[in-house]
Subunit: 339 residues, 2 copies
Amino acid sequence: MNQHVTIRDVAAAAGFSVNTVSRALNDKPDVSPETKARVLEAARRLGYRPNKLARGLRSNKTQTIGVIVADIANPFFGAVVKGVEEAAREHDLSIILGNTNEDYEKEEKVIQTMLSERVDGLLVTPVQTKNATIIKLEESGMPFVLLGRHFKDLETDYVASDDVQGGFLATERLIKLGHRKIAFINGPLHVSSAKERFQGYKAALERYGLVLKPTLVKNDAITMEDGYRVARLLLSHTSRPTAVFAYSDFVALGVIEAAHECGLAIPDDLSVVGYDDTNFARGLAVPLTTVHIPIDELGKLSIEILREKINGSNVTRQVRVPVKLVIRKSDAEVHAFGD
Amino acid sequence: MNQHVTIRDVAAAAGFSVNTVSRALNDKPDVSPETKARVLEAARRLGYRPNKLARGLRSNKTQTIGVIVADIANPFFGAVVKGVEEAAREHDLSIILGNTNEDYEKEEKVIQTMLSERVDGLLVTPVQTKNATIIKLEESGMPFVLLGRHFKDLETDYVASDDVQGGFLATERLIKLGHRKIAFINGPLHVSSAKERFQGYKAALERYGLVLKPTLVKNDAITMEDGYRVARLLLSHTSRPTAVFAYSDFVALGVIEAAHECGLAIPDDLSVVGYDDTNFARGLAVPLTTVHIPIDELGKLSIEILREKINGSNVTRQVRVPVKLVIRKSDAEVHAFGD
DNA sequence: CTGTTAGCGCCTTCAT
DNA sequence: ATGAAGGCGCTAACAG
């Protein structure tokens, strides 16, 4: 239960002034090798541990960044945070975690707290029901990078995957398999990734001369339950879709469950394409065709850019990482029946 | 890009001393209502944000706890952290996240960093290949609670689920379905949860008069790939098991994949029971029978106990939360062929 | 009820 | 190459 050892204790033990100890501990010039050795030895012996609070207070650098995501229990965000954490630790940055649960109020509160914590910078997956928090964040001067989502009308830095491309690739694939009635069970449209995947979906339809049928597009699906519920409705219709493109692998899971209950085999009676390439996707009974996001790259890049901002760069970086379609077994050529 | 507003700025603006401002801001007694109102107003107007570093330095309370888990990308730990974060924020505690990746060295480093950060307490899922870090942590006087795992020979506080019970329930279920050859594809035995699930497995066999066949027990499976690999070996045998109990739902996913490749139908030819009740478990083509852990309760309890420790309690709390078996469709009565 | 003073642990001038 | 002094922003005595 030792009281904390301070730099003064080390100084006393080594027989130097606090200043010299500080210089020795921080690899500053103008310290003789022997002195440094003695200081380090004393520090080690006493179990000295620098107080980051004091250091941060003095230097205005906390070596800590805030990471705010929408749902850490979602394996996609889990993987993102894992990548971010690893990249951050490589630069001796610690991470303060915030989980918004897609709740705007919580986002607001968490950002305030992190500003109080004097983090060096922020990585944020915004809830996007409003943008006031992010605008305020800009005004605060705190360096930040949006992660995985971005605002069309805000000139902030961001790192995201190319959702337009993802939506296009998935839809194009289904079109090329001969599908004409391709349902899109999408997420909430205020979220940029959902909005842009929808753009990709539309672009693919257009590119191949198909018309968009509004009845085949459903929004606001996030969970497996959502996917299940919507798919039940969609599949019970007489002119049901022959393919479903889902906002996430979880939503796809719900679709698959609904298909089974409707007596529809996958992929023979219904093609399904997911999104995220979550780690269970290839383990499903019918391995899921899905859009793969290079998550590690997202993590690394976002940290890299955030560090640039922290170091004073004022060029705005807006990065879209390309995705790729992973074709497995949940999609197949459409069976012959017209529309 | 405003410079930070300090308590002095607020004091000047409100026409009071820093002390009065501090008292007003912290709801301390002996401040007249009007004064308080004026201070609050000035603070709001200037956009004052308390500096947590200064506060922590002064008061020795950072309102921050460290949370160290093995793999945040694993939805189980993701859910745990989500619960913990929520419970923590309710008490205005922030969370510094550490991810060990089951790497002991990283655990050591992360704990050191968090001690430097002067967190108020620590929640740790230990790697358990060694226990020196945890012993050192005890000696440091930092309050901490182990989360999900514990050491048999260390008298530390912990909150975990009852893994012996979980192992027993899963095995018992399979026995009652008539299975005699029940394989157990377990995790690494240095991890307490794996060790205790094995105890449960043994206890169930014993209880029902079955003998343990060492060839049916495999360790060190963590990922889906591990499960797949081990299951391939196990299932290719002539006297293959009729049931598999897996360390996690992910491992079970690998087992299922292997079974398919071996032409074995689930549950008719092979029963499979998983562990964790991960959110995809019920969405599988054959919904997975698995052991459910009340994760939210784990999170809430661990925060509660950690707060007790932080507040000076020195009673040791070792809590095992009961689990329950969720029976779905991946297990069935054994087909008639002897052993 | 309010103000003054000191100091948490560290780093940054500025001397020596 | 080393030391002394000051101050980062805040809260805890202690006065008044």
